[in-house]
């Protein structure tokens, strides 16, 4: 009956919910067990878990009762975070434990998930005091490296190039740092997709018959294999840049610059102060910074030569 009513309303999201509402879905990402009322096909499903995080639907207020700080689309307080995007919905993230979604009628499920698995998961990770670096993580099975840098610099493209060369991708866009049994830093398995623009897929001669991140533009989700083995220790973080130079280049980052660059490349850094998580973040960075090597790596803006850059970077990453 519900399904019938919803179809009359032509309400895409309600239709979707009516089809799925009675189910609960279980996933694991960033080392966290997630129980969700919303199906999240981007994540790896698991069974029989005790959940760390619950994602569900409910009423989300227009504003938080006590706001510590805000941005254009978000409000933050201690253990409370609100994200709102007109046309998609409102999200409330609390205590690093639950995310409540109030979608708007016209919202597409893929768009709801895009914000959920981006900024909202970012806020949840910060509430839990976890360190999340903005970048993709790759491994050769013996060591792990994070490729970081500002948006548009080519982190995912380089990860796609290294994947072509036979290396494995652990995470794209958000690399969450954890500890293994030997107390070594590792990167937790992320969402098993690379988000790639059409020009990159075409450049790498790859199929563009993939799911779009949003229907409005040519950015696709390319599935990547999920690592079965425990990820190897994190040994390097590379800060990428692009310039109008003609050659690839790299240099090691030393001293205080390591800390500052790591801080500046934290995923959704702007949430941290406003959530009162600055001390935990400082502590996490201080512990990590002494355990890893960091490098600057620069590529030419043009021409785009992803595989050549990937070969160049593989020498730095895995053979130095």
């Amino acid at each position: 009956m519900f399904r019938h009513l919803c179809l009359i309303k032509h309400d895409r999201f309600v239709v979707y919910l009516c089809q799925k509402r009675l189910n609960k879905y279980y996933y694991k990402v960033y080392g966290l067990n997630i129980c969700s009322e919303l199906e999240l096909p981007e994540l790896s499903p698991v069974q029989n878990i005790k959940e760390d995080v619950i994602i569900g639907f409910g009423k989300v207020p227009e504003h938080l009762p006590k706001v510590r700080g805000s941005g254009v689309l978000f409000e933050a307080a201690l253990n409370d975070f609100l994200f709102k995007f007109e046309g998609i919905g409102r999200y409330r993230v609390q205590y690093g434990r639950r995310i409540i979604i109030q979608p708007e009628r016209e919202a597409l499920p893929a768009e709801i998930r895009l914000i959920l698995l981006g900024s909202c998961i970012g806020a949840l990770l910060h509430q839990r005091g976890m360190l999340a670096i903005h970048g993709s993580a790759i491994t050769d099975g013996k060591q792990t490296t994070i490729l970081s840098g500002q948006s548009g610099v080519g982190k995912s493209s380089l990860a796609a190039g290294l994947l072509e060369l036979g290396y494995s991708v652990i995470a794209d866009d958000i690399s969450v740092i954890g500890l293994n049994g030997k107390q070594h830093f590792i990167v937790e398995n992320g969402i098993p997709h690379l988000k790639l623009w059409k020009d990159v897929l075409v450049h790498l001669n790859q199929d563009v018959d993939l799911t779009k991140v949003r229907p409005q533009f040519e950015k696709y989700r390319k599935p990547i294999p999920v690592l079965e083995d425990p990820p190897p220790s994190l040994s390097k973080i590379i800060i990428l840049s692009a310039s109008n130079s003609t050659d690839f280049s790299y240099s090691e980052i030393l001293g205080r610059d390591k800390f500052h660059l790591l801080r500046n490349n934290t995923y959704r850094l702007q949430f941290i102060d406003k959530m009162n998580q600055t001390e935990a973040h400082f502590r996490n960075l201080s512990q990590l910074v002494n355990s890893i090597q960091m490098f600057h790596a620069n590529r030419p803006h043009y021409p785009q030569n992803i595989l050549e850059f990937a070969k160049y970077m593989s020498e730095i990453i895995f053979k130095t």
Partner: protein, 286 residues
């Protein structure tokens, strides 16, 4: 949001009109050192289309938003940027002054201290811009004459800057000087070349900056074309177009007289003559 501060100066121009030159002049003026500032370390300005800044205030990747969505949100981004900024912020833009999809100016009046609008003869712009983009003169003319021209428009790739509405050259000039209803000071590129002290001093006065004439002269000398060209030759310039050999190419006016074909001149003048005449780029009789 607290009460808005009027602390943003928009350094606006059509591309290749002298905006970078003016920014370098400002950096030299603000510098404590009598030496010329390094052109690769211009810390005084940012860009209106800087994706990192937009992402930071939004709290999400602008790369996952449409251009229309970004423009709807950018006035709020600029208001927050203004609120957090101590003192005056100088923001470079090549965008036309426009309204977003909900009718709000992308460059909000309530945070605007003023606009420096740098204008250059479009006949010279096409030559400089065609070198910058490694495009033909004819293709560049079609960009200048097109009211729907945009920068960083491609939908199949990510640009480090967000999409910008450029419009045609005349519409760009009119948008800032007539439509914006902002305090605008117009500087002609040609006057910056021919009468640098008078031209830069007027801009300094408009910005209400307190500098001695000797300091302005020093900043002008430190941002002379020869100095900038020498710096670029020696260390490169990070703002050089990816397709061009040099950013600082000739630094002259009236290059069009020897470089453009008559048909090309006519094509530009046909579309741009009203504004060209208004700013002294055509004789009254033309």
């Amino acid at each position: 949001m607290p009460e808005a501060k009027k602390n943003i100066v928009w350094l606006a121009s059509y591309p290749k009109s002298g905006n970078t030159w003016f920014r370098i002049f400002l950096s030299n003026l603000f510098s404590d050192s009598p030496q010329a500032v390094n052109i690769n370390e211009l810390t005084e300005t940012t860009m209106s289309s800087n994706r990192s800044i937009i992402d930071s205030y939004l709290g999400m990747h602008s790369s996952e938003l449409t251009a229309k969505e970004i423009d709807k949100l950018r006035p709020q981004v600029f208001k927050r940027f203004s609120d957090e900024k101590e003192g005056t912020a100088y923001v470079k833009t090549h965008e036309a002054w426009t309204l977003n999809s909900i009718g709000n100016p992308i460059f909000p009046k309530e945070i605007t201290k003023g606009v420096i609008y740098i204008i250059r003869n479009p006949l010279d712009i096409v030559i400089s811009y065609s070198y910058h983009n490694n495009e033909s003169i004819d293709k560049t003319i079609s960009i200048l004459n097109n009211d729907f021209s945009k920068l960083c428009e491609k939908k199949e790739k990510l640009n480090i800057q967000t999409q910008q509405i450029l419009t045609s050259w005349s519409s760009h000039v009119r948008s800032w000087t007539d439509d914006s209803n902002l305090p605008v000071h117009i500087i002609r590129y040609e006057d910056m070349l021919d009468h640098p002290l008078k031209s830069f001093k007027r801009a300094v006065d408009f910005l209400n900056l307190k500098y001695e004439e000797s300091e302005i002269i020093n900043a002008i000398n430190n941002s002379s074309f020869d100095t900038l060209k020498e710096m670029e030759t020696s260390d490169g310039f990070k703002e050089r177009g990816i397709y061009s050999e040099a950013f600082f190419r000739k630094g002259e006016s009236n290059e069009w007289e020897s470089e453009l074909l008559e048909t090309q001149i006519n094509e530009i003048v046909k579309y741009q003559h009203k504004i060209m005449k208004r700013f002294g780029y055509l004789k009254e009789s033309e």
